[in-house]
């Protein structure tokens, strides 16, 4: 829990570090801050404590989720490079600080005990993300994306808050266990449930599904992902998603598990819809970044499947999947940042698949890292992504979600189609990419993520046994 306090302080410290003339210190400092927070977080292992008048709860589940979030943040920070070379207009201190603040929000979303904390965490996360999306101030697309994200996101948060209010009205409690007890008592005839609760549950689910960009609340995703600076796209698609699913899972499995028979139909249907819409649309994308946006939606679909199945193993499935997905996504975006900066079309970074043409020739490491990350996202064995999918399929099988499973299998095959586009471009097409110079820490990050992906693909038990 101390990680929340520490990260908030570090964020402020970061702002002050920005006054220093030496900006190079910012990134190592931020990395150190996150590592420190990670250590504080791990210190909570095997304790079950309620904090701040029953507002937050730390246990092994929250520690695990926090770890995944912090690891993803660590990787994203490691591949950020001071946010552009434009000295006058770049504000690295602010960006790092906002990232740290948003992580605070994300951690609150995985540790909340009280629904108000969920709301506050979500807002901290979202407001930071709105700012970061628009951080490329002189880029029209970035501004448009930020505005879109803000308008839609604020609306979704409003819906969520409305849902929280209705649930409170129906159950008289903000505590997720309190609500859970109320719902269970109702099943035993000791309390009565009004339709208000169902509307409340529905609205909360909608609010959270918006944040994790599941269909049909996904329309903002491609535009925002494409407009935002790539580094924040990577951050958004990993940290926000993990936190969102953690929150969704906790709510549904603790508070509303008694009404499983009701909301399961909603998620059952939305899961299939998300998978189909995302994968089919992704096939037609020409831009790598947009493809990754739809890929992110499709992974929301897979994660939704395990949430729908609501098994005892669901939490470890979400964790494993989020970890595998985050590592692969950060790798992919890291390679893309390097390649697209190197190659411009019409004065802008080239983000299409063509930008990767001939990458393997002079940059074997980048091409290999990209290939491994794509294979992992596609769920091919030997990579972590395969086991992620495997665990999720097993969960769904236990619950007998046959329709979703068949859709998921078909869509996995479709997924291979678009995930292979960059691999084909980089290995099999001719191109003229010169050797790209990579900073050591950047290179190290790529090597670590690639090895991790393969290692988890060979020995998933390394982390699965912890989760």
């Amino acid at each position: 829990m101390n990680s929340i306090i520490a990260l908030s302080l570090f964020g402020i410290a970061n702002l002050f570090l920005g006054f220093l003339n030496n900006r190079k210190i910012l990134m190592p400092a931020t990395l150190a801050f996150i590592l420190f927070a990670l250590g504080l977080n791990l210190a909570d292992w095997n304790t079950e404590v309620l904090w701040f008048n029953n507002m937050l709860r730390t246990n092994n589940l929250s520690v695990n989720f926090t770890t995944v979030i912090l690891v993803a943040t660590l990787l994203v920070v490691a591949i950020s490079r001071g946010f552009g070379d434009d000295e006058e207009h770049s504000h690295p201190a602010e960006y790092y600080a906002i990232m740290l603040f948003s992580v605070v929000g994300a951690i609150m979303m995985v540790t909340f005990e009280n629904l108000l904390m969920l709301f506050i965490g979500l807002e901290i996360l979202s407001v930071s993300m709105y700012v970061l999306t628009g951080s490329d101030k002189r880029n029209l697309r970035s501004n448009e994306a930020a505005l879109k994200y803000f308008l839609m996101g604020a609306f979704a948060t409003g819906i969520l808050l409305f849902g929280v209010a209705l649930v409170y009205g129906a159950t008289g409690s903000f505590s997720i266990y309190g609500i859970g007890n109320f719902v269970t008592e109702n099943r035993m005839g000791q309390s009565e449930i009004t339709p208000m609760l169902y509307v409340g549950i529905l609205l909360i689910i909608i609010g959270l599904l918006f944040k994790v960009s599941a269909a049909p609340f996904h329309f903002w995703t491609p535009d925002v992902y494409e407009g935002a600076p790539t580094i924040f796209t990577a951050f958004m698609s990993t940290v926000v998603k993990t936190a969102g699913f953690a929150a969704l899972y906790r709510l549904l499995s603790v508070s509303f598990v008694g009404e499983y028979g009701k909301w399961v139909y909603l998620l059952y249907f939305l899961c299939a819809a998300t998978l189909i819409i995302a994968n089919i649309t992704a096939v037609y994308q020409q831009s790598f970044k947009r493809m990754m946006a739809f890929s992110s939606i499709s992974h929301a679909g897979y994660l939704l499947m395990t949430v729908t199945s609501n098994q005892a193993t669901t939490q470890s499935s979400i964790l494993f999947y989020s970890l595998a997905y985050s590592i692969a996504t950060v790798t992919a975006f890291a390679v893309m940042i390097l390649v697209s900066e190197n190659k411009t079309s019409n004065g802008k970074p080239d983000e299409s698949f063509d930008a990767f043409k001939g990458l393997a020739k002079n940059n074997p490491l980048l091409a290999f890292a990209l290939a491994v990350s794509m294979l992992s996202l596609a769920g091919i064995p030997l990579t972590a992504g395969f086991w992620g999918k495997f665990f999720i399929f097993s969960d769904a099988f236990k619950r007998g979600l046959i329709l979703d499973l068949i859709v998921a299998v078909l869509m996995s095959a479709v997924g291979v189609y678009y995930y292979f586009k960059p691999i084909i471009a980089s290995y099999m097409k001719e191109g003229n990419i010169q050797e790209i110079t990579i900073k050591p820490i950047y290179k190290l990050t790529l090597i670590i993520t690639t090895i991790l992906t393969i290692l988890l693909g060979l020995m998933p038990d390394l982390v699965k046994s912890i989760f």
């Binding site: 294979l375 091919i380 064995p381 030997l382 395969f386 086991w387 495997f390 399929f393 097993s394 099988f397 236990k398 499973l405 068949i406 299998v409 996995s412 095959a413 291979v416 189609y417 292979f420 084909i424 290995y427 099999m428 097409k429 020995m459 998933p460 038990d461 699965k464 046994s465």
Partner: protein, 483 residues
């Protein structure tokens, strides 16, 4: 430990190769492959021919889910392990005449492929089987897509998606069975066999199709073969040899290891359909092969026809059919690698595989002719060649199952002779053409490739008992599970 070393050795050698430069990759790769061959021979030598699984090793893989990394070799596995270790060294040798761009990766991928194949053939856990089954796709895909011909990108991509699509349904089937195991679940194949006994006919019917489509695409069986000819033609010959020589045996092996014992009731219902498709494949493939002008494409279709026969033999569920299928897998693997090697040697000299533009090679290179004719005869299944034993047993098995299927399958002998003899005649005999003038004699590495292959063709034909005693108890054991 032996099985583990069989899997690990090519991987380690491959990793070492990735770190080397210059001419070394070839040498290291061939040394590794020959060491692997010796290991395979040692396994053959130490193997006690009974129905049991030997040289086993088992480690926890995903402890909480009861999934184990467990491998072992029984009679059926041994045949395919022998095939893999026998064929790969010569595949590597046959490439010595070419200088591939980015050679280390090329040879490393071949070795990784070998490791994955051995993994498939020795896995004793369904998910380990699936794992290797899919992993084998990656090296061969990159081999074909990077070093292949003009259309390679499109063609190999179709191949990849096609086969992956099929195996995803197999994964669903396997997870379904796995979920039925009691307690914390277990995915050991033996456990799955037991669980499968409790399934009713309808469930087995669904599972049958989930498995059959996966394996049928891999083999391939009509009408799932459309990826095959193009992929074989566009791939570099080393990859083609790997695919046709060994990889397609993953499909037939899967039928024997997974499909027959797990869903016997499903096979009872749908077996006739499967045999019909296989038999259609035999005739259809042969007829198309007769009309081909491209040597590689011709061999591809001949391979398609032969696999149809193997698959029909497996689905006959008779002792002879299964024995024959295993013998034929071995024979076909050796023959088809030999044939592709010869087509490659001819192509390297003439830059053509077009039968109408070749001819008269025998006048300058009698050596090649001898090898070509021997391997061709093996492929036609002449008595005293390796093809004969398998094909005879297969036809007997199919005949026992149903006379008419047997009769139609028998066409393979006639049709096979037609296209094979036509190929040899058009390419080797007749007038020397512009392309084949001054056809250079076989180089050392080419002789070293073809001589052992031709030798095996004859040896396994004269002494089928090298392998039959190993096959028999294993097949009998399998038949008791099915019954």
């Amino acid at each position: 430990m032996l099985t583990i070393s069989l899997i690990l050795l090519p991987i380690i050698a491959g990793l070492i190769i990735l770190l080397t430069k210059g001419d070394n990759p070839k040498t290291i790769a061939s040394i590794a492959a020959f060491v692997e061959l010796i290991l395979g021979g040692y396994a053959y030598n130490q193997f006690v021919p009974n129905g049991s699984s030997q040289f086993g090793a088992s480690y926890n893989w995903i402890a909480s889910a009861g999934i184990k990394f467990s491998v072992g070799i029984d009679g059926i596995s041994l045949i395919l392990v022998c095939l893999t270790t026998l064929v790969v060294p010569f595949i590597i040798l046959s490439t010595f005449g070419r200088t591939e761009k980015n050679a280390p990766t090329f040879y490393a991928l071949i070795l990784f492929m070998q490791a994955a194949l051995i993994g498939v053939f020795t896995a004793k856990d369904i998910f380990l089987f699936y794992f290797f089954f899919e992993v084998a796709l990656i090296p061969v895909y990159f081999l074909a897509a990077i070093w292949g011909g003009e259309n390679r990108i499109k063609v190999t991509f179709k191949f990849f998606i096609y086969t992956l699509f099929g195996s995803l349904f197999m994964l669903l089937g396997l997870v379904y069975l796995y979920m039925k195991t009691p307690g914390l679940h277990s995915s050991a194949i033996s456990e799955i066999y037991q669980i499968a006994e409790g399934l009713n006919g309808k469930q087995q019917g669904y599972l049958f199709w989930a498995f059959f489509i996966a394996f049928a695409i891999k083999m391939p069986v009509f009408p799932f073969h459309t990826w095959q000819p193009d992929t074989y033609v566009e791939s570099p010959t080393a990859a083609t040899m790997l695919m046709s020589g060994v990889m397609l045996k993953m499909g037939t092996y899967g039928l024997i290891r997974i499909l027959l014992p797990i869903v016997p009731l499903g096979v009872q219902t749908w077996g006739t359909t499967a045999i019909t498709l296989s038999v259609i494949g035999i005739v259809y493939g042969s007829i198309i092969a007769i009309q081909q002008r491209d040597m590689k494409r011709l061999i591809a279709y001949s391979s398609f026809a032969h696999v149809g026969l193997i698959s029909a033999g497996i689905f006959s569920r008779t002792l002879e059919g299964l024995q024959g299928s295993l013998m034929q897998m071995l024979a076909h693997g050796i023959n088809v690698v030999g044939l592709f090697a010869i087509s490659e040697f001819i192509f390297q000299r003439t830059k053509s595989r077009d039968l109408s533009r070749l001819g008269g090679i025998t006048q300058t290179t009698p050596n090649l002719t001898v090898y070509f004719v021997i391997i061709m005869l093996g492929s036609v299944a002449m008595p005293l060649t390796n093809g004969f034993v398998g094909e005879f047993l297969l036809l007997k098995g199919i005949y026992t199952y149903n006379v008419w299927f047997g009769a139609v399958s028998g066409l393979t002998i006639i049709l096979g002779a037609v296209y094979m003899l036509r190929m040899v005649q058009k390419s080797m005999f007749g007038e020397t053409s512009k392309l084949t003038q001054g056809f250079a004699d076989l180089a050392l590495h080419e002789k070293m490739t073809l001589f052992p292959l031709a030798f095996m063709v004859i040896w396994f034909g004269i002494a089928p008992n090298t392998f039959l005693p190993i096959i028999e108890p294993a097949v009998k054991q399998l038949l008791t599970i099915i019954k």
